[in-house]
């Protein structure tokens, strides 16, 4: 039974896992890159060890160094979080060999589900419907994929075999543009997962992305914690998730839930995992993939069920039985998560880097923020742009939306641009409020800064604000010049300068 957990990750998820360990009375070991010496996970852990330079390949992806830290610190378990080494079967295997408990599924389940092609083949055998694609072949060459594509039909998706989170994914409209897209998808997959393999999948149009959270213990018990609606995406990156889905009927929920449990059982699954489905407008659902790890969006399920998923992961890894049978799991109210990214929504969602100079978190009833950043922390270009998750709970979906609105309006992050205004615009959108959206909604039927929606008063206020700031600036620079002119002795300034730096 382990006592000391090494968290092989960074950012908000490392902080989340460290908190869960601490609340269970377990010691924690953080690892960090040179860019992350002052990161929150380093500050909050009991122990912290440097892995290497900032790029992930030289730090967070260095399994060898992580094992060295585990040995040195005496950590007897590793939690991989999401991304990085979370879905690498060889890493899980080496943990087992080193006598370190991997807090996640068995290596064989990761292998079966991690290779998306094999996963599809496996669940088809278990009777689970899948999206048409290159189900039966892994590691195809570009030539093979180009030959197969017309048989699937366009539009189709190139997806990373080792993938997740939309990375290494490309949409293909025709055969002509496919070679270039294959190349860029492989490049992104290689840099994100260290594995450039890709496969093809038919693009289901007008679809919703709905996933089921699974928990399975080592005694053969498997339950699902209901679904998450994840259709609000941009470039296949999830931006907002909610639970429950406004689209699912109770009947469909039950049906898909038991299919999800079946899919997990097909690979003898243990620990937390997620079964992703596409659901079309006629309520047909297709297995997409299984994520054999904790998801970014797990908090919406936590808020809607009251179950601490990370704590359950640790209990499962310690060999305990699940704390809940399926019929004990209650769904209460509605939860929404907005991913706060360091991206400028008014400038093509361009990533934004820099030092956070100030921050004000929304707090109060029903609001949770999971973040790894704070004022003084530098957002570097080396890692994912997601800097925080804002999660709210309400008794109904309408209440949750109203609460999210006030929380977004309160949230201040200064020093980098964020996509908070995107979420604010989304919360005001009638289609979002009405639950009328699919995975293409953000890209095809949504605009930032629709000038028609601006009212005259706000424009006038914006004009007043800009004028007052501009006026203040020009007064200040004039003042500095005047001060400079007036001073006969500049020694006074030296004194001030030095006092400021004492």
């Amino acid at each position: 039974m382990f006592k000391k957990v090494l968290v092989a990750n960074r950012g908000e998820i490392a902080v989340r896992i460290i908190r869960a360990c601490r609340e269970l009375g377990m010691e924690t070991v953080a690892v960090f890159s040179e860019a992350d010496r002052n990161a929150l996970h380093v500050r909050y852990a009991d122990e912290a060890y440097l892995l290497g330079p900032a790029p992930s390949r030289e730090s967070y992806l260095r399994a060898d160094k992580i094992f060295e830290v585990a040995r040195k610190s005496g950590a007897d378990a590793i939690h991989p979080g999401y991304g990085f080494l979370a879905e690498r079967e060889d890493f899980a295997e080496k943990c087992a060999e080193a006598g370190i408990k991997f807090i996640g599924p068995k290596a064989s389940s990761i292998a079966a589900m991690g290779d998306k092609a094999e996963a599809r083949a496996t669940v088809i055998k278990a009777g689970v419907p899948v999206v048409p694609g290159t189900e039966d072949v892994g590691n195809m060459t570009n030539e093979q994929l180009l030959a197969k594509a017309p048989l699937i039909g366009f539009p189709l998706l190139i997806k990373a075999t080792a993938g997740g989170g939309g990375k290494g994914m490309r949409e293909v409209k025709s055969l002509e543009e496919m070679p270039a897209l294959l190349q860029s998808a492989r490049r992104e997959a290689e840099s994100s997962f260290g594995d450039g393999n890709v496969y093809l999948e038919k693009l289901v149009e007008g679809a919703r992305h709905i996933e089921f959270q699974i928990l399975a213990d080592s005694h053969g018990n498997v339950v699902h914690l209901g679904e998450r609606e994840c259709s609000i995406q941009r470039r296949h990156q999830k931006l907002l998730e909610e639970a429950p889905s406004p689209f699912l009927s109770e009947e469909l929920r039950q049906k898909m839930g038991s299919v999800a449990v079946k899919a997990a059982q097909a690979v003898d699954y243990v620990n937390a995992g997620t079964i992703e489905f596409l659901v079309d407008k006629d309520e047909n659902y297709y297995f997409l993939e299984m994520n054999t790890r904790l998801q970014v969006e797990h908090p919406v399920t936590e808020m809607a069920t009251g179950i601490d998923i990370v704590a359950e992961q640790i209990r499962i890894a310690r060999g305990r039985q699940l704390s809940y049978a399926q019929e004990q799991i209650r769904f209460n109210g509605h939860a929404i998560e907005c991913r706060v990214n360091a991206e400028d929504p008014f400038n093509g969602f361009m990533p934004s880097t820099g030092r956070i100079t100030h921050s004000l978190l929304p707090t109060g009833p029903g609001v949770r923020v999971d973040t790894g950043v704070y004022p003084g922390f530098e957002i570097t270009p080396f890692y994912d742009p997601m800097i925080a998750k804002l999660i709210v709970w309400g008794e109904t979906r309408a209440q949750a939306i109203l609460r999210m609105r006030r929380a977004l309006e309160e949230y201040r992050i200064v020093g980098v641009r964020t996509n908070i205004p995107f979420h604010q615009t989304l919360m005001d959108s009638h289609r979002f409020m009405g639950g009328q959206f699919d995975t293409r909604f953000v890209e095809e039927r949504f605009t930032m800064n629709d000038s028609a929606e601006r009212d005259a008063t706000s424009a006038e206020i914006a004009a007043i604000l800009a004028t007052l700031v501009a006026h203040q600036e020009s007064e200040r620079s004039a003042h500095i010049v005047r001060r400079g002119e007036r001073d006969t002795s500049n020694w006074k300034w030296v004194g001030r300068w030095e006092r400021m730096h004492r």
């Binding site: 990533p351 977004l408 200064v414 604010q424 800064n449 006026h471």
Partner: protein
Amino acid sequence: MKYITTIESQEFEVEVIDERHIRIGERLIEVDFEAVSGQPVFSLIVDGRSYESFVYPGDEDWEVLLHGRQYQVKVEDEREKRLRAAAGGGVAETGEFHLKAPMPGLVVATPVSEGQEVKKGQVILILESMKMQNELKAPRDGVVGRVRVKAGESVEQKQRLLSLH
């Protein structure tokens, strides 16, 4: 001090009378205006209404972020406005455009080469940052001038990447 403040095509005449008063058009307005925590976040109370906003200096304009909406605001004093009017108005659309790196990153590809004609919106460079491939597009039609970087190169924020004329 009198200013001409423009949002899109709408002009506001704003006179800053003293710290607590402005005149906008004909209306005298009492303002209570404060910077929050020394940050580019400003609190403004006008007629009892409480507003809070980010105000950032842009390249030429001010960017005002208010209730989740962004306003591009040009603020000119009367002298500047007259000078601009005398110059014939409008910034030339044909001058040289320098593409600068919007953030530090790694150049993944430069799909255009010197002398090539490009259309507005065409991808002229791909930059990787935060594990994302960011496509930088031509802001207008033009001909590619010097390409200063190549694939695999790391670049700093605001570094010149290529020019368009």
